[in-house]
């Protein structure tokens, strides 16, 4: 009761065996007789012994730690991803360290440095882009790196991306089927490769049908930005009748602005498509037609890559490109509008 952790030595002493025996008892697949194992277990139970993973990680090459580096993690999409990742990592016997990179400027680099401090087996980056040098350092230290939706050109990390261009194309088709003619694209000023890919894809697909796209970029990928974009978009002379928002949150802001400030009805006067399919999209007030982030697939791929001890160096492996299906709800007309 002296306020300190109990060690394997204590257990060994109590069970009347050597320290090796207790170590082997807690090492799956080690050679211990059933009798001693029982003895050790009983002693461990009584003392409240727990293997010290720090010390274990010192001997083995693996620490069992996986770092998740993420900023603005209360964003619904990110929060959901973190939840799913931690859950599956735990099932795989790993523990997750969460590194918050909310402070800008070199924060991702600092985060990766932290992962080195704790000898993490792997790092999963959900946001930000790491410096090349520090990435190299991690990789050289034997750490694995997974980049999710950060379409980076660094070689070495395992990259998981979406078919953003294809999704944008699907959005155009959906709008055309609904009889929309004036397309707009609501983007942020963040300029992440995947966001820009959606923009380019949308414009290109529209061009194939001879349609121009009004592009507005504003602030961060948040509700307020959508709200502001609604202001600029619907006060223009020829207002769009279809908007593809780079993100569900922006879509909500845009919808609220369109309805509240301009009295537009959705989908009768305006069709909206979002991206992420976060929980709120299904709420009755929005009923947003949106592309679904294949969270489970993303997680599955990440874990598989981490688990596969003898996998190729990632430079050989092409990025995984996952499909984001369109989830139909009520923010896009299913059929062409009849002009009455």
């Amino acid at each position: 009761m002296n306020k300190s952790f109990v060690s394997a030595d204590d257990v060994a002493k109590r069970a009347g065996v050597s320290r090796s025996a207790v170590s082997r008892t807690f090492t799956p697949g080690a050679s211990v007789s059933e009798e001693t194992r029982q003895r050790v277990m009983k002693a461990a139970q009584a003392l409240g012994y727990h293997v010290n993973q720090l010390a274990r990680g010192l001997m083995r090459s693996e620490s069992g730690i996986v770092c998740l580096v993420v900023s603005e993690m209360d964003t619904p999409y990110r929060a959901g991803l973190v939840r799913a990742l931690t859950h599956e990592l735990q099932k795989a016997g790993k523990i997750s360290m969460l590194i918050n990179t909310d402070r800008s400027d070199g924060s991702v680099d600092a985060a990766l440095r932290q992962t080195l401090h704790y000898r993490a087996d792997a790092s999963i980056l959900l946001s930000g882009l790491p410096d090349k040098a520090i990435t190299r350092l991690c990789l050289d230290s034997g750490q694995r790196i997974v980049l999710i939706n950060r379409d980076d050109d660094i070689e070495g990390p395992f990259r998981i991306n979406l078919d953003d261009g294809h999704a944008a194309r699907v959005a155009v088709h959906a709008f055309l089927r609904a009889g929309c003619r004036y397309l707009a694209f609501a983007n942020s000023e963040v300029g992440t490769p995947s966001l820009m890919a959606r923009e380019r894809g949308f414009i290109a697909a529209a061009a194939e049908f001879g349609l121009a796209v009004t592009v507005v970029r504003c602030g961060n990928t948040v509700y307020e930005s959508g709200r502001k974009i609604a202001q600029t978009l619907f006060t223009e002379p020829n207002r769009p009748d279809a908007v593809f928002c780079v993100n569900d949150l922006m879509a909500f802001g845009l919808m609220d602005g369109a309805r509240h400030d301009f009295g537009l009805r959705i989908p009768q006067d305006l069709c909206v498509v979002g991206f992420d399919d976060i929980e709120q999209s299904a709420w009755t007030s929005y009923g947003l037609t949106t592309f679904s982030q294949p969270v489970d697939e993303i997680v599955k791929n990440s874990i598989a890559w981490l688990g596969d001890r003898e996998a190729e160096p990632a430079s050989e492996v092409p990025p995984v490109r996952l499909h984001a299906p369109l989830i139909w709800r009520q923010s896009v007309r299913a059929t062409q509008r009849v002009i009455s």
Copy 2:
């Protein structure tokens, strides 16, 4: 370039000093001459050396690890809390481990066991209730425990709670001022002490004015539950004109149900108050009047308690009880309704 972490020995060799010198260079407050410090730093830089926190944690009693144990962490309130906690912990030089307790049954206990494995300095519990025995074990191992909004009667952990009862009383007053007469309370079946405290407080305060409260409990504290409660509440003979929802998410479900399925106008026909003040409450579609979780205060108190190395055993310290102010938006009438 042999895929492994570089150790202090490597640095020492390269800098032509002893390993102790390296260790001292990276230990704030240790005695090293400026010259050797420079030499060591240069060598460390060149090799990409990083102190191994696992090994350091083995020597010192502190690992620098703080565990956050939380379930359903993609819930907006929880996600925000986790974000704020990780941010402040990092500022305090700690690193956070995230333990997901989504699987029910004994999962919190398993989580605490994990914290022991990694010799965490402290654990912060945002959800679930730990077993008493395992809590004791953590405390005896010298670990600190913080319980946030889990109004538990275990002695030892540091407890942070809200003045739920008082908030409920404020809600009743708000409704009365708006001229509401038929009060209802929308709860979940979760039965957490703090949720029940809100329920009891609401009923008691209403009783003081001779008013009865219709209580409905349903499912989890999520949107769908609110939706369902709207169904049962507004099909009743004398429908309520004011509902206090235990949670913002449920409030949104209730509002959507009231508006969409029953054509009720808010706040003209129905006043609603929520709890948490999550981001969505400020969205135009909802404009929910709600009690604000003092996230910053919660975080500040937690960190202060962890940082204070020589603090009293928590059994001496009474739970901190924080105030949750009511944030006025549009879901409650400011003045009494004029019956026309």
